[in-house]
C-alpha cells in the first residue's frame, strides 16, 4: 500500500489533491458528482468583505491548452458565506476546508479573516494577494512585497490557523515575495495564481473579455508554475502548495518533485468535473509506476544531486 498522506502546515491530509479556489464553488455542488470527502481538502470560492458581482461578461476565453477568466471575485460576501454557504458545505464535507480570502486593503483582509476565523470547519486560510482581475487590468496588489508583508502580518495577528499566501506569477522575482511572506510569519505559500493574458476577436476587432485582460490557467502554464515552485522551494523553508495547469496524477508527481507539499487543481475541474476524483484514484498507480512508497518523501526530490 502506498501512502498518499502529507502534512500541510500541521494538518495531515489524506492526499495532496486540493481543488483550487474559484473552480469548486463552496464544494456542495460537486458533492452531487462524487463524494468530495475523498479530497485532501479544497479551497473555497474567494471571499471578500462585501458581496461582489464581479466583472461584466464575457468573462471566459479559450486559449491553446488553457483558458482566460476575468470573473473578478464574484462572491456573496463573508456574512452570507458564513450564514448560507458553510452550513450547506458542512452537510457533505467532513474535513477541514481552506478559506480563500481576497480584499482591497489590509483592513479588508483582516476583517474577513477575523469573521471566518470563528468557523470551526476552516482549517487553513489561503490569502489571495494576486487576483489579476480586480485592479482595473493593472498590477495585482500582490506584486509589491510591501503590500504582501502588511497583509500577512495583519492576518497572522487575528488567527492561529495556518496562513498560506497565494502568490502572483506576474512578477520579476517571485522568490522575493515568498521570502517576504516567510519573514512575516506565513505558514505556507501557494503558487501560481493565473498569468495575465488576453485574446482578441478578429471579427469584432475587440478584446474577447469585457474586462480586456484575464487570468491564464490550464496546462499551458504548467511549465511556468513548475519553475516558480522550484525557485521558491530553494528560497523558503515553509510548505508550498503548487498549482498551475495540473490535470493528471503524473502532473502531481512532477509538481511535488519541484517542491510542492500539496497541489491545487484548478481549470481541470471546469473541463472535467471528475478531474480531482480521477487524479486521486490514479495516484496510487502512478506512484507504483515510479516506485514511490510515500508521497511526502518526494517533496522537492528534483533538487537532489
Amino acid at each position: 500500500m502506498v501512502n498518499t498522506k502529507v502534512d500541510l502546515c500541521g494538518i495531515q491530509i489524506d492526499n495532496p489533491i486540493i481543488p483550487a479556489s474559484g473552480t469548486f464553488g463552496f464544494g456542495y455542488e460537486f458533492a452531487y458528482n462524487y463524494d468530495i470527502n475523498m479530497l485532501g481538502t479544497f479551497s473555497f470560492k474567494g471571499t471578500t468583505k462585501d458581496p461582489r458581482f464581479g466583472n461584466p461578461t464575457p468573462r471566459i476565453a479559450e486559449t491553446p491548452s488553457g483558458m482566460l477568466n476575468s470573473v473578478g471575485l464574484q462572491n456573496p460576501g463573508v456574512d452570507k458565506v458564513i450564514s448560507e454557504e458553510l452550513p450547506r458545505l458542512k452537510s457533505c464535507f467532513k474535513k477541514p476546508v481552506m478559506a480563500n480570502v481576497s480584499g482591497f486593503s489590509v483592513e479588508d483582509y483582516a476583517y474577513t479573516c477575523e469573521k471566518l476565523d470563528a468557523e470551526e470547519q476552516i482549517g487553513w486560510f489561503e490569502i489571495n494577494v494576486s487576483c489579476p482581475n480586480v485592479h482595473g487590468g493593472g498590477l495585482a496588489f500582490g506584486t509589491d512585497p510591501k503590500n504582501v508583508a502588511a497583509v500577512t502580518k495583519a492576518v497572522k495577528k487575528i488567527t492561529n490557523k495556518p496562513v498560506i499566501i497565494k502568490l502572483s506569477p506576474n512578477v520579476t522575482d517571485i522568490t522575493e515575495i515568498a521570502k517576504t511572506c516567510e519573514a512575516e510569519g506565513a505558514d505556507g505559500v501557494s503558487l501560481i495564481n493565473t498569468l495575465l493574458g488576453m485574446r482578441i476577436n478578429p471579427k469584432t476587432r475587440k478584446p474577447i473579455l469585457a474586462n480586456t485582460f484575464g487570468g491564464l490557467s490550464g496546462p499551458a502554464v504548467f511549465p511556468v508554475a513548475l519553475r516558480m515552485i522550484y525557485q521558491v522551494y530553494n528560497a523558503v523553508n515553509i510548505p508550498i502548495i503548487g498549482m498551475g495547469g495540473v490535470s493528471t496524477a503524473e502532473d502531481v508527481i512532477e509538481m511535488m518533485l519541484a517542491g510542492a507539499t500539496a497541489v491545487e487543481v484548478g481549470a481541470a475541474n471546469l473541463v472535467d468535473p471528475f478531474a480531482c476524483k480521477n487524479i486521486i484514484e490514479d495516484l496510487p498507480k502512478v506512484m507504483e509506476k515510479y516506485k514511490i512508497n510515500s508521497l511526502s518523501e518526494i517533496i522537492g526530490g528534483a533538487h537532489n544531486g
Partner: protein, 244 residues
C-alpha cells in the same frame, strides 16, 4: 443530475449552410427538460462547447449546431461511428408545465433547435403552441417542416422576404393571440420581443461559458432575484426576473 459519458455519433449532416444536425447514441437519463444542453469535449481544444439539445429519447440525443469557430468546425467534420465525450443534462431548461392555454414559441436562427423539444413537451401537456421561426433568408432555413409534422401552425419570417413574412419574428408576433411565450435566439430578437410582448414568458440565453455546470462563475448575470449563472440557473430565465 449531470452525467459524463462517451457518445457515438449516428448521423452528422448539413441541414442548411453551416448548420449541422448530429444524432448521438448513449445514456440520456440525465436529460430532464427541453432547453437543457450538452457540453462537448473536442480533441485539441481546451474548453468544452455547450450545445443545446434539440430532441432526445431513451438512447439518442439530437443536437443542431452552427459552424461559428474552430470547435464547431471540428465537430462538423466528424462522421458516424466517431465518439464524443459529453457532459449531459446541464442547465435549467424550459418549464412546459404551467397553466397557459395558448403558448407562442419564437425561435431565431440557431436558437430554434431547443424549441423543437419544447414543442413536443408542450404537446405532451395537452397544448398546441403556435410557432414563429425567424431566419435571415430562405437558404438558411431549417426545421419548418419538422415543426409542422407535430401538427402545429408554423409562421416563418425572413429578413429579406425571400420566404414567408418579410421582416422579423415580431412582425408576426404582434398580430397573434397568445397567453404565454417561449423564445430562444439572438439578443436583438430578444429585445424586439421584450418591447412588444404582452404576457409572461421564458427566454433561453447564450453566454461564453467556462465549465457549463455552475462552478466557475464565468457566465453570471444579474437578475431581479439576485445573481444567476446562465449555465446552471439558466439558460432559461423567466421574463419577470430578467434585467435587460
Amino acid at each position: 443530475m449531470m452525467k459524463q459519458g462517451i457518445y457515438e455519433i449516428l448521423f452528422n449532416f448539413e441541414l442548411a449552410p453551416n448548420v449541422f444536425r448530429m444524432v448521438l447514441k448513449g445514456d440520456t437519463s440525465a436529460l430532464l427538460s427541453p432547453g437543457q444542453f450538452v457540453n462537448v469535449k473536442i480533441d485539441g481544444l481546451y474548453l468544452r462547447r455547450p450545445i443545446s439539445v434539440c430532441d432526445y429519447d431513451k438512447e439518442t440525443i439530437t443536437i443542431i449546431y452552427k459552424v461559428v469557430g474552430v470547435g464547431t468546425e471540428k465537430m462538423s467534420k466528424m462522421t458516424a461511428g466517431d465518439k464524443l465525450d459529453l457532459l449531459v443534462g446541464l442547465g435549467n431548461g424550459f418549464n412546459a408545465e404551467n397553466d397557459c392555454k395558448n403558448p407562442l414559441v419564437i425561435g431565431g436562427g440557431v436558437g430554434i433547435p431547443p424549441l423543437y423539444g419544447l414543442c413536443k413537451e408542450l404537446i405532451k401537456f395537452g397544448k398546441k403552441p403556435t410557432v414563429i421561426l425567424g431566419f435571415n433568408t430562405s437558404s438558411e432555413m431549417f426545421y419548418e417542416e419538422v415543426f409542422k409534422l407535430l401538427g402545429l401552425d408554423v409562421y416563418v419570417t425572413t429578413v429579406d422576404g425571400s420566404y414567408g413574412t418579410k421582416g422579423f419574428v415580431t412582425d408576426v408576433m404582434k398580430n397573434l393571440d397568445y397567453d404565454y411565450f417561449y423564445t430562444c435566439g439572438p439578443m436583438p430578437m430578444f429585445k424586439a420581443i421584450e418591447s412588444i410582448a404582452k404576457t409572461s414568458g421564458q427566454y433561453s440565453f447564450e453566454e461564453r461559458m467556462g465549465c457549463g455546470f455552475g462552478a466557475c462563475m464565468g457566465c453570471s448575470c444579474k437578475t431581479k432575484y439576485g445573481n444567476k449563472r446562465i449555465c446552471k440557473d439558466g439558460p432559461v430565465l423567466e421574463r419577470e426576473e430578467i434585467v435587460w
